[in-house]
């Protein structure tokens, strides 16, 4: 699931992308079950339908030095970065073995050892932080590229504006990646901006913006790869608007009354997993190979969930630790 060394053939690479995306999808579906069963509590934001953005981006990055800053909708990012899904389930389940021992939860977890530098539940707040990590790259010779991921609605938050201007004038190696699923919670984002061509916002700060099909994992991968090359070369930030669809509610329990009739049916036709599977078949992968691959993911996810459920709850004994060094 980590970034693809490139020496792997194109088919192998596509297989990995599919595996990553399918793992994300099944992870979210399992979380949905766990939430319904009451094992996971609190508000949970799923990313079903947006998987290509995470898989494509992480495949284009060098996660030994590049880092990503997602939002509360970050399970997919975390998986694409390569964090163990058992530890993720454990985190959502409030287990001691969770990625953060249950301190983070679904909406604020982090896996820095995998390049995932933390979800953020404050809309827009991750943009200046990612910009700061990119600022460091101009001093520490790390060659780091930082990815600030946020949604379409976040572009109206002041912190995002300040981050983009700051990154632009210092030519910082940061990629502003907008996961445009057309909704800000229950509100149609197009009604909250004069123009919904959000990639054009970057022109105000003098750096390039591009809109891509965020459900086309290959397009995401290629676009991010080029943006990362530019950034590493000191050519500054890029704004990538990845068009996608959220196939589920903003949070588990969302009644989704804001949907147009038929909207989700249309979305399911263009969703990334269906497309990537078709591409694999077109590329000569057999139905049975694909089925075997899916079966493996199903087993992995089920096994990880079972293990996490069986592990002990976060122990209150250490609840006061780690506030300060």
């Amino acid at each position: 699931m980590q970034n693809d060394p490139g020496d792997a053939g194109p088919d192998e690479a596509r297989r990995r992308l599919f595996t990553t995306m399918y793992t994300i999808r099944l992870f979210e579906e399992e979380v949905t079950r766990l939430r319904a069963a009451g094992d996971v509590v609190g508000s949970v934001h799923l990313c079903n339908g947006q998987e290509a953005i995470y898989a494509g981006t992480c495949a284009a990055l060098d996660l030994t030095r590049d880092i990503v800053f997602p939002t509360y909708r970050g399970h997919g990012w975390t998986i694409a970065c390569g964090a163990p899904i058992e530890d993720m389930f454990a985190e959502l389940l409030g287990r001691e073995s969770g990625l953060n021992g249950g301190r983070g939860g679904s909406a604020y977890l982090s896996a820095p050892q995998w390049g995932m530098y933390g979800e953020n539940s404050i809309v827009g707040a991750g943009a200046p932080i990612a910009t700061g990590a990119a600022l460091a790259a101009t001093f520490d010779n790390s060659g780091r590229v930082a990815v600030a991921a946020f949604g379409d609605g976040a572009l109206n938050q002041g912190a995002v504006h300040e981050a983009m201007n700051f990154a632009s004038i210092r030519h910082l190696p940061v990629i502003f990646l907008v996961e445009n699923n057309r909704y800000s919670e229950l509100t149609v984002t197009a009604t909250m901006v004069a123009s919904d061509r959000l990639f054009k916002r970057s022109s105000a700060y003098g750096f390039p913006g591009v809109r891509i099909d965020g459900n086309d994992v290959g397009a995401v991968r290629a676009t991010v790869a080029e943006a990362a090359r530019r950034a590493r070369a000191g050519e500054g930030p890029v704004l990538i608007e990845a068009m996608t669809e959220r196939l589920v509610g903003h949070y588990i329990g969302d009644a989704e009354q804001y949907r147009e009739p038929g909207e989700l049916d249309r979305a399911r036709e263009t969703e990334p997993l269906v497309r990537c599977a078709r591409e694999l078949l077109d590329a000569g992968v057999t139905e049975s190979e694909l089925e075997a691959l899916k079966e493996q993911v199903r087993r992995d996810v089920a096994e990880a969930s079972r293990r996490a459920l069986a592990s002990p709850l976060a122990s209150p004994d250490t609840v006061l630790e780690h506030l300060y060094a």
Partner: protein, 333 residues
Amino acid sequence: MPEETKNLTYAQAVNEALSRALAERPETLLFGEDVGIPGGVFGVTKGLRRQFGERVFDTPISESAILGGAIGAALVGMRPIAEVMWADFTLVALDQLINQAANVRYVSRGALTAPITVRTQQGSGPGACAQHSQSLEAIFAHVPGLQVCMPATAQEAYDLLLSAIWSDDPAIVIENRNVYHGEKEPVRLGGPVRPVGGAAIRRPGTDVTVVTWGTMQHRVLDAAERLQAEGISCEVLDMRWLRPFDTAAIHASVARTGRLAVVHEAHTFAGLGAEVVASVAESGLTLSAPPLRLGAPDVRIPAAPSLLAEVIPSAPRIAESVHRLVHQSRHAA
């Protein structure tokens, strides 16, 4: 508005207050993220857009524009009711409340006023992350020029919100999402709108005064019930308004009971509980036991329920602490 009593949830009571304000005061506006067409992320403003049209609307995710916009509209005569979905989010735009709204009347000697009402909600909940769990009332209450309340019941949610809207100065109404859709209770609607301020005795008692506010009071009342069984009579004081703060009510109760405990969900250090204890200490009232503060320890609020339960005062922990407080002094006595 004619008086009537309805069985309502906390959320429905808030909705009734907003509906009344919009109906009786044409200068009111109601806006915030998802507040209009969706009817609120918690469903609290449901139906108001349909009923009152353009005066109820959705905004971008721009808290500075929401709060600054409310202030500007208020300066020219409107009465905006702005929602900030979580108190934690006020921190991206606190300038507008502390540097702007709080200053307007004083600095202009009343030539300008900013009668805005900010509806928000706060508090922890199992699974909620550290950025959606804080209790920030001490920050707001420290600011002269602002008014702050924390309604704990459906009736208070209705009454205090109307007092805030009717007030000619900025007010922050801090609700709690955990009680929005709880048990219905009879709520008296209509009737005169009370002025801002004033604590309420939720349970009269003789052995110890337990001061609290917000939904923490439900745990305190639960604890008081347990203590009654142990022969300890608690007077539970719900401050309701944290600014203005009804210090007199605290002193009057403590004068009767001779013992003081304060319980809140916010962090104990530099929390508003310190103000309660300090004002009693300054008053010279003699206590038969050292006062007690119970709140969240120095920690960030963790998401895991097993951890959260450890850091937020629970009814048993409150009962146990108050028991010790009373017991020790009875022995002393």
